[in-house]
């Protein structure tokens, strides 16, 4: 029992399933872990499947193969350490698991090894979910789980009587029968918010959001994301759509290619003169793994996440102590009309910084404008006019910029996205001696009339600028609005060119198929949305809200477990009923009728014996109960005619006779 390999070659089936299942669970990681680990895993797996008995390590404890494999594994672990600099992070952990799976399958020769390898495969499936939880992943992983279960099943089918088809059917049945209980557990298992302990540093790399630096293309990537950035609930008044500038990080420093924040984090806020009524609102921010919050221009207060957890800087960024890795909610007050006075020397210097010996052509253009005697305000207007009148295009797919990006954009390609316009505009202002800076954040938002709140998606990501004008202080200028005013007024959706949607050729022929495609897209989006709403983000909050619908507002975990038991027990009893019911012995209706007849006779003391045929039994019964003999013979005759003469037409007659057969017990 302990080692069925290699003397029993038929067990190979389960080994093949195991290899296939493991490979399936490893493959999604191809992009995330070093290629050599995948290759090593595949080599080990194929080696084992190719010659299962050759690599049998049970025979001798210290064979050359064994020592070789051990050294290879140590090298592998060291390799992982050097690649990631650790062996505990998320990616490193997954790499380690894949490596382990490879070495485990190669030494699988005993029962215990087989199970351990199989369980490792199940565990690898979970690791994929740490990266992606889409519907596609779920379907793929269901197949993987099926194959892993199949390997367990074939392993336990000692005599290998089952074909792959038959055992797949059993495995699928097992899994399908598990779904009801799984659903109950998923809905009712008490959810705990927050991590139990610190997560590895790279655990949140999948989170999307605005980065703390800007280079061409960094925002247009976000634009393609349909993910929600945050939701806003305005208390009383909603500002106009053109005022919906959600302020994030402020960028000061440029090297000619990318923009970064510089060091303004710990300075107190500059004096803010408010010129309108405050707007009060609540923000529910999705985790974005960055140390800042978003607020409407201009934030008037510290959101008070907790003592020393958040603060407001001199350039009105809302910074936090820790990266935002959980969905959080905070109340804010902002002033759409404002005046920021005061510009210290440090800031002045920073807001005029430019890389040396770059942007030559732009510099000449600004000099020319200066020579024309334009004032600073006029230069701002002139620059915006240049964007709006000189064939500048707003596009998500701008030509690639090399060399001097500002010059190339301004004089050659003239196609760009908000980051192009913002960065070029700030460079122009600084060349003209006007202090300027870039603000990253979101612009606009989608009003949800059902829930009465604004949803700001990642695709609302935006970059705009602020220039210092002596009388007005820091003033917001959005150069993108000059190029594509719709972008600001009606939102990003209207500004996006149609081809972004990416209608495939076969659908783009005529309007009908195009419409069909769009409808399909909407449906798929809706399905995905439901999936995200009900499956992916089903956490403590959702659970509370869901249970509240059934009048279970205040339910503690012990009553939830009680509920689970209440629901699961009937499901299992029903399953047991279905599984353990029915045997053909009295499963056939005709036989069942005959048994009913026998039972009726048994009540008057005439018991049917297993070895007795119907005719003999009838004779015996008729002898004992002469009064019933006619009926007994009648029923027996019909029964024999149906059962042995295939005279099915008489079934109703048998039914009738058995029903009316009521022997008196005396």
């Amino acid at each position: 029992m302990n080692s069925r390999w290699p003397e029993n070659n038929t067990s190979l089936n389960s080994l093949y399933c195991l290899g296939a299942g493991l490979t399936m669970s490893v493959l999604p990681h191809v992009q995330r872990i070093p290629g050599w680990i995948i290759v090593l895993f595949l080599v080990l797996t194929i080696w084992k499947l190719y010659s299962p008995s050759q690599v049998n390590l049970t025979e001798r404890k210290f064979s050359i193969t064994r020592i070789f494999l051990f050294i290879l594994m140590v090298i592998g672990i060291i390799g992982i350490y050097f690649h990631f600099g650790t062996i505990v992070g998320r990616n490193a952990g997954v790499s380690l698991l894949v490596l382990l799976a490879g070495f485990k399958i190669i030494e699988t020769s005993q029962e215990r090894d087989f199970y351990v390898t199989c369980f490792l495969g199940y565990f690898l499936v979970v690791t994929t979910f740490l990266y992606t939880q889409t519907i596609g992943t779920a379907i793929y992983m269901s197949c993987t789980v099926l194959v892993m279960t199949l390997s367990l099943l074939t392993y336990n089918d000692y005599q290998q009587k089952l074909s792959y088809k038959a055992s797949s059917k059993i495995a699928a049945t097992l899994l399908l029968q598990s779904i009801p209980v799984m659903l109950i557990l998923f809905v009712l298992f008490p959810r705990i918010s927050g991590p139990l302990w610190g997560m590895p540093d790279d655990a949140h790399t999948g989170l999307t959001g605005i980065d703390d630096e800007m280079s061409p293309g960094s925002i247009s990537q976000l634009i393609l994301s349909n993910k929600v950035a945050f939701r806003v609930d305005f208390k009383d008044t909603q500002p106009e759509k053109s005022q919906l500038y959600w302020r994030g990080p402020v960028l000061w420093y440029t090297d000619g290619k990318k923009w970064t924040r510089g060091e303004s984090d710990y300075l107190d806020a500059a004096p803010l003169q408010t010129m309108s009524d405050p707007v009060a609102y609540t923000v529910t921010l999705e985790p974005h793994n960055q140390k800042w919050l978003y607020a409407l221009d201009m934030p008037g207060q510290n959101p008070e996440l907790g003592p020393d957890q958040s603060w407001i800087t001199s350039d009105f960024q809302l910074l936090t102590q820790k990266p935002i890795r959980q969905r959080i909610r905070y109340e804010m007050i902002s002033y759409p009309e404002y005046k920021i006075s005061g510009l210290n020397n440090d800031e002045l210097q920073k807001s005029l910084q430019l890389p040396r010996q770059q942007h030559g052509r732009t510099k000449r253009l600004i000099h020319q404008w200066k020579k024309e005697g334009l004032s600073k305000k006029q230069i701002i207007k002139r620059a915006l006019k240049l964007f709006s009148e000189d064939k500048f295009y707003y596009t998500l797919n701008p030509p690639l910029l090399e060399n001097d990006r500002v010059d190339q954009f301004l004089f050659e390609t003239k196609q760009g996205f908000c980051e192009h316009y913002a960065s070029t505009f700030v460079v122009m202002m600084r060349l003209a001696g006007i202090p300027a800076r870039i603000v990253l954040g979101y612009q606009g938002g989608e009003y949800n009339p059902v829930g009465d709140y604004f949803v700001v998606h990642q695709r609302n990501a935006h970059a705009w600028t602020e220039v210092w004008i002596k009388e007005q202080g820091w003033t917001r200028v959005d150069p993108t609005a000059a190029v594509s005013p719709l972008r600001v007024i009606e939102g990003i959706e209207s500004a996006l060119p149609g081809n972004i949607i990416g209608i495939p050729l076969m659908f783009s022929r005529n309007s009908l198929t195009r419409q069909l495609w769009r409808r399909l897209n909407y449906s798929w989006d809706a399905v995905n949305n439901q999936w995200n709403q009900w499956v992916i983000s089903y956490g403590p909050k959702r659970q509370k809200a869901f249970l509240a619908q059934f009048g279970l507002q205040k339910i503690d975990w012990s009553s939830m477990i009680f509920l689970i038991i209440i629901f699961i027990v009937p499901i299992l009893i029903y399953l047991a009923f279905v599984l353990l019911k029915s045997t053909p012995e009295n499963g056939e209706p005709v036989k069942r009728l005959y048994i009913k007849f026998c039972k009726k006779l048994a009540r008057c003391g005439i018991h049917h014996v297993a070895h007795e045929g119907p005719v003999d039994f009838a004779k015996r019964a008729a002898l004992k109960r002469g009064d019933l003999s006619q009926q007994i013979y009648n029923i027996t005759d019909i029964y024999i005619a149906i059962r042995y003469g295939s005279n099915n037409a008489q079934i109703p007659s048998l039914q009738e006779h058995v029903r009316s057969f009521r022997p008196s017990t005396n």
Binding site: V126, Q159, I179, F189, K581
Partner: protein
């Protein structure tokens, strides 16, 4: 009529007809996780912790799916045994040290195949249910729907006498090996164990006066005593070819000589051996030898006296009395 054992059925399951029979005995089925089932549980726990820590819905789903799978597996494992009907059949005698094989007739009256049903002689250490001791032999079989299957549970015989199979554990871990459903059946049939044939092969000298009776005086030479009708198996050498040539039929010449002496194996013949068991072994050895040499042989040991005879049945009678010698059975 031997007893029929029905492994426990669910209250609402069928084949109650068999259970109503007087000769049937119901046997309870127990279910426990296997070692690997416990390991599986440990893995599920790790998964759950991971799911909670990362607040990952899909990890929750997979954990719950596999947890639920193990619950469903309990039912399937149970179903694999439940309602199975077991009948005993008498085992064939063996020599001490050989494997005694206890036949069981398994009756699957259900609509599903029973997979990988395993039989093993239950070890005395009941608490080590998942442990299979190395010297126990296991038998595994599938039983198709509505079919009978005959299996033999081997048990190593250690002493002569009657070997009882005792409690035989029937278990299955199908389909996933996470749970084991088992039941123990008390096998009533006993296997007769002959002594181990040991000792010298050469037969003891025949005691002429006693062993051959009246005809003893003719012994020493192959004296012709007469004809008898030919029977299948008679040696060709002894056929009376002359008579056959006269077309009077096929006859066999009969001789009296030492080769066809009646051999009586007596307790005295083995009195030189130190203990009873080795004496019995020697007698056993001689009996087999005598049978193979087609001798007429008898057995005279205390309390048992068997007249001379020949053939398989006679050998069995002799060996059985050796097996039972001195034992109160």
């Amino acid at each position: 009529m031997p007893e029929t054992i029905v492994l426990e059925q669910f209250p609402f399951s069928a084949s109650r007809l068999a259970a109503d029979n007087k000769n049937t005995r119901k046997q309870r089925i127990y279910i426990m996780p296997t070692r690997h089932g416990l390991l599986f549980g440990l893995m599920l726990f790790a998964m759950l912790i991971g799911a909670i820590n990362y607040n990952n819905s899909m990890a929750y789903i997979l954990t719950f799916l596999l947890g639920s799978l193990s619950l469903v597996t309990i039912l399937h494992t149970y179903r694999n045994l439940a309602g199975m009907v077991i009948n005993e059949a008498p085992p064939l005698p063996v020599f001490s040290g050989e494997l005694a094989k206890f036949p069981l007739i398994l009756d699957n009256r259900n609509r599903h195949i029973r997979f990988a049903i395993t039989f093993i002689r239950s070890s005395k250490k009941k608490w080590r249910l998942n442990q299979t001791s190395t010297n126990s032999h296991i038998t595994t079989c599938n039983i198709d729907q509505n079919q009978l299957e005959r299996i033999e549970v081997p048990v190593r015989s250690l002493h002569r006498g009657l070997l009882k199979a005792g409690r035989i554990k029937v278990y299955t871990i199908f389909p996933l090996g996470l749970f084991t459903a088992w039941s123990t059946i008390d096998v009533k049939q006993a296997c007769l164990v002959y002594p181990k044939p040991e000792g010298q092969k050469s037969l003891p000298p025949v005691d002429l006066t006693e062993s051959t009776g009246i005809q003893g005086k003719y012994s020493g030479t192959d004296d012709f005593t007469g004809f008898r009708n030919y029977q299948a198996g008679d040696s060709i050498k002894n056929i009376a070819w002359k008579v056959y040539a006269q077309q009077k039929g096929l006859f066999v010449k009969r001789f009296i000589g030492s080769g066809s002496d009646k051999l009586h194996l007596r307790w005295n013949d083995v009195s030189h051996l130190p203990d009873i068991e080795s004496r019995l072994s020697q007698l056993c050895c001689w009996l087999i030898e005598a049978e193979s040499q087609s001798l007429q042989y008898g057995l005279n040991i205390p309390e048992v006296s068997l007249d001379t005879g020949h053939g398989e049945k006679h050998l069995h009678l002799c060996l059985a009395s050796l097996a039972k010698y001195g034992l109160k059975i």
